[in-house]
Subunit: 343 residues, 2 copies
């Protein structure tokens, strides 16, 4: 099960040539065909495989990129991870997943841990972006790309999306299908997405553009189904709503369950929208109308940004944005699902 591996020196000896020639032959740079042939044969016989650590030490590159998130259980991050992996793998980069969620370590601590140089770059999607984190990122010894808030003013590469505008799309859609009493279940306000989404909801439900009659907000403790269920109960208990906008799909599912508890049908009595357009939302019953924030796309873009950074020298920081778009499904169907009920 555990056998020691052949080194380049052994290949060199076997081939009867110098170490340098062996290395060159294996990389196909400036070696005669005969030499290449000879070395390749020796390498094959010994089952040689270059050692990543030795290589890294010499080249000062680890060929690894880290992806750090608060909670890898959130489907949004899984989507990002998949996308990141798809972009980086073809370039010979491995992806190391780091989670700040269940451990006590703050995201800033995690960024600081990059100083041990086990990775060539980092993609991080922080829930909260405070000064400590910004400082840690700016002092990081390797390129860092942030998925979330734009940090242009600090010279940090970032991939953002306009979730506030996305919330506006959700509200507009609900008004369009005739809903007038709109509730909003948001996550914690001290998080980047929580703050942005609240801004979006407030903007969409105030001023002349808002053709509805009533708007109110209830805050969940977290961006999870359980928290959404509790917040949904509180919000719906007050009565009088015909639609609820949730700050993400998990919260929306919680709200729908809360509605069920109270005997409210979705979308008949209550239309519900989510955000993130996750797989779970697509397959939920009723399937969830949701604002896509292009998770996979953001992951892809972030991966390309790090790739450029680790490859080239210093360029100005770049900001990329992905536009939100609404995906309408059953949870806001204009006509309450009468046929579905019929048997």
């Amino acid at each position: 099960m555990t056998s020691s591996r052949a080194t380049l020196i052994q290949v060199a000896e076997r081939a009867g040539v110098s170490l340098a020639s062996t290395s060159r032959a294996l990389h196909g740079t400036g070696a005669s065909p005969a030499m290449v042939e000879r070395v390749r044969a020796a390498a094959a016989e010994l089952g040689y495989s270059p050692d990543a650590t030795g290589r890294s030490l010499r080249m000062k590159r680890t060929f690894q990129v880290a992806f750090a998130v608060a909670d890898i259980g959130n489907p949004v991050y899984v989507e990002m991870l998949t996308a990141i992996h798809e972009v980086l793998a073809p370039h010979g980069y491995r992806v190391v997943v780091m989670s700040t969620g269940h451990t006590v370590a703050s995201t800033a601590d995690l960024v600081r841990s990059l100083s041990s140089g086990f990775v060539d770059g980092l993609i991080v999607s922080p829930l909260r972006t405070d000064d400590e984190l910004v400082t840690a990122i700016m002092q990081a010894p390797v390129p860092v790309v942030v998925i979330g808030r734009s940090l242009e003013q600090h010279g940090i590469d970032s991939v953002s999306t306009d979730s506030a505008a996305g919330l506006g799309q959700a509200v507009a859609h609900l008004l369009e299908i005739g809903r007038r009493q709109i509730g909003f279940v948001n996550g914690p306000l001290d998080t980047t997405p929580g703050a942005a989404r609240q801004r979006g909801f407030d903007a969409a439900t105030s001023g002349p553009a808002f053709t509805g009659e009533h708007a109110e907000t209830e805050r969940a403790d977290d961006f999870t189904v359980a928290a959404g269920l509790e917040a949904g109960r509180r919000l719906l208990a007050r009565g009088g709503l015909d639609a609820v906008v949730a700050a993400n799909d998990l919260l929306a599912i919680g709200v729908i369950r809360a509605a069920g508890e109270l005997g409210l049908s979705v979308p008949g009595d209550l239309a519900v929208t989510g955000m993130d357009d996750t797989e779970i939302g697509k397959v939920f019953q009723p399937s969830l109308t949701s604002v896509s924030l292009g998770s996979a796309e953001r992951g892809r873009l972030a991966a390309r940004l790090v790739l450029d950074r680790v490859g080239d020298g210093v360029e100005p920081a770049r900001q990329v944005a992905v536009g939100p778009h609404l995906v309408v499904r059953e949870s806001t169907a204009a006509a309450p699902s009468k046929e579905k009920r019929a048997r």
Copy 2:
């Protein structure tokens, strides 16, 4: 953003002591308090952080463990990943996620890639276990732990579960609540879980122990919701069933959707069970009765096995098993959800 890091030599110079003393002082092994103080101060001033690559090369340890799965999008693997991470992180190990799913690379190729030595061990949960894979694992230069089939005869550490017995539990439960016409939606038969679950279903529905009247199987192309939907349509179109056992939660959700399309209520007209006891099953409507295979527990155990291997010398291969257990929820509620319908 990118600043070069201080090395041990620089710390030594700064402290005015030798390289060796510096290393020792920083590790707290055999250095005088005065020396430790001096070196620590110098290290702090320079913001020194030990280089992982140099350390790895010297110690012949990378402090990394890889986790390889077919599809990181599957919630089961995410649960395992979380558990693995929780066990390994406190021991200073990082987790590298490798996916074989969307790329063409076979699991065997992936195992062979370990030969570059970028990791101290591997946890792999393969969908199919053929001779090529077994050979690759046996020849791997680092310890490999398999989550899935027991591979004791090959001297490979493994964590398994008895999903066949789990299927038996699901069938027994359905019979108990009075169902007699049982359908089974399985995934591909040429996969390890597919084969085991088929065996379990066949055993549970044949012989005198089976008090039902009818049993039939329909195969999905994959262990996904989409495949479950299609297989569910085929199975239910034939009619006459009052219960369906699905080989995992995702397939079960697909089946429930197919039932909805045909106007069948769950659990009223059709009881449905899943397997894996995933989060998505818990929050689905109706919530899913499911056979837990202890995903998190299996991840934890696998992590402990690699940890033991990378720490110690060669021990005999160990096999660990996690027992399945049924979790009953709404999708098989004995009394069809009459109250729920009432408003």
